[in-house]
Symmetry: C2
Subunit: 281 residues, 2 copies
């Protein structure tokens, strides 16, 4: 079975309509407090639903940070189910930021959890972790091809400690990060659509050249870019960082938007969206 | 605050009393079917509780594979909470196999979820993923030091695709896997106890020398060893694989034990425990 529209095509539509801003839904303790909400499942539910309300129509993609829901156990996951459903019902693409990685039937279960149609946590895309190799993530690629889902593989992340693993050099003479980008581009080239469903995470705070990466060489691979705002990167500089790949960058903001509070969030999203549009132009 | 007994000490006690067998609690679809249980939250709950019942008194550690609970959403997590609680109440150490990895407040939330006393999913130890570097995992190390919790960092995993990342060579001239093992040993050396709370995952199907690893050089670092049974490694060969480190190996079995069904599980665990004891001797 092949989905009518692949994730890459859906993402391309969203980028054209709304631009690349992605709202991270990160209900951590400090933000819950600043929103006047409790550090509990009811608080993260309310936070998530209000963030979805503000985002609908202004951005194309929301990215719930699953850790902040999981922190509240089963009740937190019930809140997460409600938030994901509300976002999808509002026409937003939901990118579950879970960074799952494992092997065999275990990884298959993670992929089914987040990408299989009908799963209680079904999302449009998920982030995955390639420490055990990119080959073990096959079931996620299959769900992408069969059901129009998206996958974003950690590649060059935005934290300063990331270089130790990600710039190490493999037997083929290229860095870990570069090998992952090449692999995703090759897989995308075998699928239909100008933009493929298999993306990479390339932090905006990095000099990509330090990782041996040139995103221009992977024109079918979407980019999820964390690191804006509190971490230091500016949306207005997205073209300096990603070059000709800037138009396929999904730029994630969380604190920088959510810190405006429930009343100020929509207005702040408009500002950030416009800043990114100017930066990507 | 410092816990009365560190995780390394608790683990050493368990190893002395029960040996190194660890029962993976992996309620995937095929096993649920063979146990006559439904592929739903009630099925994984029943499966987990029966596995805990069989394991209590026979092994020291159980390792719930979180993916198979998460597959059923919030209801699956409610089942997981019940299984973790039952296991801890039965005196088993619970190692949550979650392979979480992220940065900043997000990783902190993951560590709090699985290791913070009072969390709904509080376990005794968790597995973590070092793709973003080992430095970002600090909050888990802190919880280990403060609350007697354990952390197992993926290092050289048991799947064939693992070499691409894990044998890549970093700026310091050692492999990714070797750098992680050295790092954990150094951190353990700064903590009390003959065995430290910070372990590594070293798959039993690997030739560790291919990863540039010699576990004898890290005498304070516990080892979680997947790969036995269905994946091909034999418990009787644990000393050939791990050498003098064999006595601090936690050998995980799942299908090979769970496939015996609820009635045969305890008997099968006895056989496997004895096979491992002979192998480690």
């Amino acid at each position: 079975m092949t989905a009518a529209l692949g994730f890459g095509d859906r993402l391309a539509g969203v980028l054209a309509e709304h631009g690349g801003l992605c709202l991270g839904i990160d209900p951590h303790r400090a933000l819950l407090e600043s929103w006047g909400l409790g550090f509990d499942a009811a608080g993260v539910r309310e936070f998530g639903l209000r963030a979805v309300e503000a985002a609908a129509g202004l951005v194309g993609v929301v990215k719930p940070q699953i850790a902040f829901f999981e922190r509240h156990g089963a009740a937190g996951y019930a809140a997460l189910e409600a938030v994901i459903r509300a976002a999808r019902d509002a026409g937003l693409l939901v990118l579950a930021d879970v960074k799952r990685g494992d092997m065999g039937t275990t990884f298959d279960a993670y992929a089914d959890t987040w990408l299989q149609p009908g799963s209680p946590l079904e999302s449009d895309a998920m982030t995955v972790n390639p420490y055990q190799g990119t080959g073990v993530l096959q079931h996620a690629y299959d769900l992408a091809a069969e059901h129009g889902k998206g996958v974003f593989v950690l590649c060059a992340t935005s934290n300063p400690e990331s270089a130790t693993v990600q710039t190490a050099v493999g037997a083929d003479g290229v860095t870990v990060a570069a090998a992952i980008l090449e692999d995703m581009e090759a897989r995308n080239a075998r699928l239909t659509g100008e933009l493929g469903p298999l993306g990479v995470v390339l932090g905006a705070t990095n000099r990509l050249a330090d990782f041996g990466i040139d995103p221009a060489a992977a024109p079918r691979t979407p980019i999820l870019a964390p690191g804006f705002g509190a971490q230091g990167a500016r949306l207005s500089a997205v073209r300096e960082t990603y070059g000709s790949a800037a138009p396929r960058v999904l730029a994630s903001v969380s604190r920088d938007a959510l810190g405006a509070g429930p009343a100020g969030l929509a207005g702040r999203l408009r500002e950030l969206r416009d800043e990114l549009r100017r930066g990507a132009a």
